[in-house]
Every structure is written in C-alpha cells, then in structure tokens.
Amino acid sequence: MLHAGSAHVYETLYPILFRIAYRICGNRNKAEDICQEAFIKYFERGEPLPDLEQTKYWLIRVLRNLALNHEKKKSRESKAYQRLARNSRQYTESGETEVLQEETRSLVQQALDRLPYKLRSVLVLKEYADLGYREISRILGISEGNVKVRVFRARERLALLLEDEL
C-alpha cells in the first residue's frame, strides 16, 4: 500500500539501494529485482517510518537479507553446474556465458565478487552505503569490533586481487 511520500522515498533511496545491491550480488538485473523486492516489503508494512534515514536503514537491512538469500541460491546453482559439468557438455555453453558476463563487469566488481559474502557485504556497506561501523554492526547484527576486523580483512584480500591496479 502506497502512502504520502512513497514516491519521494522511492526516488531518493532507490539509487543508494541499487548501488549496494549491485556491489553485493554483482549482477544488474538481480540487483534491480532485489531493490524492487525490498521496496515492496516496505510499502507492504503499512505504516511509513518517521524519517528518510530510518527508512534507509530498514531497507538496507531487508536488502541485506534478500542479497544473502540470493547468495545462497547462487552457491547452490554453482554446485549444481559443477555436478553437471562432470556428466554433460551443456556446462561448456554455460561456462561460455559466464565468461561473457565476466567480461562486462569491471575488474573491481570481479574482485569484489571473489570475496566471501561475509567480508564483501561489510565492505560494500562501508564503501558504497557510506555507513559507520556502528550502523553496519546494527544492520548485520555483529559487534563493532567484528565490523572493524572484517573491513580490514576484506581490504587485505581485495588489495591482493587488485595488486596491479594499486
């Protein structure tokens, strides 16, 4: 159900949410789907949140759960493809498709995609959502110290993957 200010919330927060979703899942269409789903959940909750900042945190929290579900699904599909590879030639075709998709993504995004989800999600919230450690810890339900360590580890790994670019 839409309420007064829904359009404003949508137009203001959609680009931020899209940026986070894209950096976490590395796929434009999927990122758009996740953002839509998050907004649908927000509008379905009925009562609007008092301000834009709280709405943003609420939406990011939902988005993070949706992205996590997507990650799990992707992992399952990847395993299924690997099983298929042992028995079928179809894998060659899907492998080619994957390579083509890989080429359209930037080196930075490819490096981000190679990070484990736990590290990637924290770093994306830091770098692309412009959130502090305290806010990230609240959204992810982990301690601030844990956020600090994960951000550092993610940076370490990313620096190794992007060695030539630094």
Binding site: S106, V108, K126
Partner: protein, 183 residues
C-alpha cells in the same frame, strides 16, 4: 616498531583510522605515529588508494522501474472450501472403507461392548446373560463381574469343561468372592 619507539598498531586499527573510526585522543596518537613510521604510513596509503579505486569504479545506471504498489495478496481459502486432488481408485477405496465402518457401527450399536457376552431380555422381565468365554478370558470375566451389579437375576453359563483353578491360583475362592453369595 617505529623510529619514535612506539609499537606499531595492528592492520585493522590502521584501516579503522582511514575510516575515521578511531576515537580521540587515539586518533592524534596514531597520526603522530604515522609521521614517524614509514611502514604504517605505506599501509594507510595503500588502503586509501584501494578506497579511491572502489569509489571510482563505474556503476551501471539503474533502470528506475515504476513504483511498486505491493503484491496482490492471495486470500487464504477456508479449510472446508479447499479442494483435494485424489486419484479415483483411492477415493473409491476411502468411500468404501467409510461405508463399511458405518455399517459395522450400526450393527454393533445394539450389542453389548463385550463380544463374548450376549444379553437376552425375557418376557417376564428377567435378563439372561450368556457368556461364551474362553478359558484364557476368565480373568477379564472376573474383572467384569467385580463391577457393582446393574441388574438382578444374572445367569452365567460357562463353557463345559471350564477349569476355574489354574496353576495353583485360588480362583475358586475368588469366584466365590465375586459371586457375592448369589449362586
């Protein structure tokens, strides 16, 4: 260890410093340490370059889809209105079973609950109970008889050759006790 003699902070602390997450006065202490420690300064510079690289990475422009109005909620169907898909043979078997159960219940309605006992009501108002109890059901028979009598004039016919004394159990004594003097 820096030239100033201070111990170098951990990598995650330097990373937090870059993010502005080190609280005062430690941020000042760290800043002065960096001036004296090339190794830590190089780490911080590397983290800053990485941040710039991430920030400069182009993002595909999102397609702003029409404002979602929420999904149309599907109303749950009441249990008694739900349709059940069942194979015809299974449905026929279930119907037959229900019918058989109904018939059996109707036939048993007028009978006593005890399959080995039948009750006859005589025209003079007497009630005759005929018991066809196998020997191994005697215990159950005695337990039934132990209940307070509902009617008077009970006649119990035991099968011929029934042995009331089994394995030394003083059942005759018990039988006399159960009969409560009605012989």
């Amino acid at each position: 260890m820096s030239r100033s003699g201070l111990r170098c902070p951990s990598g995650d602390t330097l990373s937090a410093f870059v993010d502005g997450e080190v609280q005062a006065p430690w941020d000042q202490v760290l800043a002065s340490h960096l001036q004296a420690c090339p190794a830590c300064l190089a780490t911080v510079a590397r983290i800053r370059r990485l941040r710039e690289l991430l920030a400069a990475d182009p993002l595909p422009s999102p397609e702003l889809r029409p404002l979602p109005e929420g999904r149309e909620r599907i109303r749950p169907v009441a249990v008694w209105k739900r349709r059940i898909a069942l194979p015809v043979p299974a449905a026929a078997a279930a119907a037959l079973a229900i019918l058989a159960l109904g018939v059996a219940l109707a036939l048993m309605a007028g009978r006593t609950r005890l399959p080995w006992m039948s009750i006859r009501h005589g025209p003079t108002g007497t009630t005759e109970v005929i018991v066809a109890a196998p020997i191994d059901d005697l215990e159950q028979l005695f337990r039934t008889l132990d209940q307070p009598p509902q009617t008077s004039g009970l006649l119990i016919r035991l099968p011929a050759g029934s042995r009331l004394l089994m394995m030394g159990e003083p059942q005759l004594v018990r039988e006399a006790d159960f009969s409560r003097g009605r012989r």
